[in-house]
Structures are given as structure tokens and as C-alpha cells.
Subunit: 73 residues, 2 copies
């Protein structure tokens, strides 16, 4: 790969509102996912949660594009 010796990638963090918009759910629901351990997160010094974009993107990528395994007739 092509890393110039970069260790520790810039972990892009998303706010609850961002994640909620992506999933079309309420920010509160995202909080529940975090509490349930379904979503990784870090906390700010004030106690707010921040979510890694990579994780969220991966979860959103689990779409069923019309016909993955469509059986033809």
C-alpha cells in the first residue's frame, strides 16, 4: 500500500445528528445503538458521543441493491 509511514489515520468522527440523518432515524436512536454496543463511539470531555465515520459508512453499505441473489424465473 502506499502509506508514507503514516500510523494512526485521522479518525473522522460524526455527531449523533449526522449519524441519525444517514440512517434516517432519530439521534436518540443512535444513542441507543451505542449503548447497546452496536455502534462504536468515543466520548467528549463533556460526555457527548462521537461516532467513527468509517464504522457508520460500513453499516450503511449493507444494502440490498435490488437483486443480489435474485433468482430468475
Amino acid at each position: 500500500m502506499t502509506a508514507h509511514g503514516m500510523q494512526g489515520e485521522p479518525e473522522v468522527l460524526l455527531t449523533p445528528a449526522e449519524v441519525a440523518s444517514l440512517f434516517r432515524v432519530d439521534p436518540k436512536t443512535v444513542t441507543r445503538w451505542a449503548k447497546a454496543g452496536k455502534l462504536s463511539y468515543i466520548r467528549t470531555l463533556g460526555g457527548h458521543r462521537r461516532y467513527p465515520e468509517a464504522e457508520v459508512r460500513a453499516l450503511l453499505g449493507a444494502a440490498t441493491t435490488s437483486d443480489d441473489d435474485a433468482k430468475k424465473d
Copy 2:
């Protein structure tokens, strides 16, 4: 504002009730379309389905005003 870097496609998702209203059917029917592979969808971390608005709009736009589309299965 947040200029965090816009590069993802604004994938607007709709809830089952939204899609159902647009098609004038029960949400259950929308679920069946999804299961049948006729409609793509993603799942929330809780298992609920969310449908891409673009896909739904495209399907809604496939209206038939003439009988030239009289093809069915």
C-alpha cells in the same frame, strides 16, 4: 455550519410508512416488495428497513399512461 467534507452521495432514505403512503398501500406490502427483491433497502441497527428515495421515485415514475406498457408477468 459544518463543512466537514461532502463527498458522499446524499442518500435520502424513506421509512416504510413513507413509501407506503406514496404508493397508497400498506407498509406491510412495501416490506413484501423488499423481501421479493423488487425494492432495495438498508436495515437500521435495530432491524427496521429504510428505502432510498431515489429508487422509490423511479418506481413511482414508471407510471403507465398508455396501454403500450401492457406487459405483465
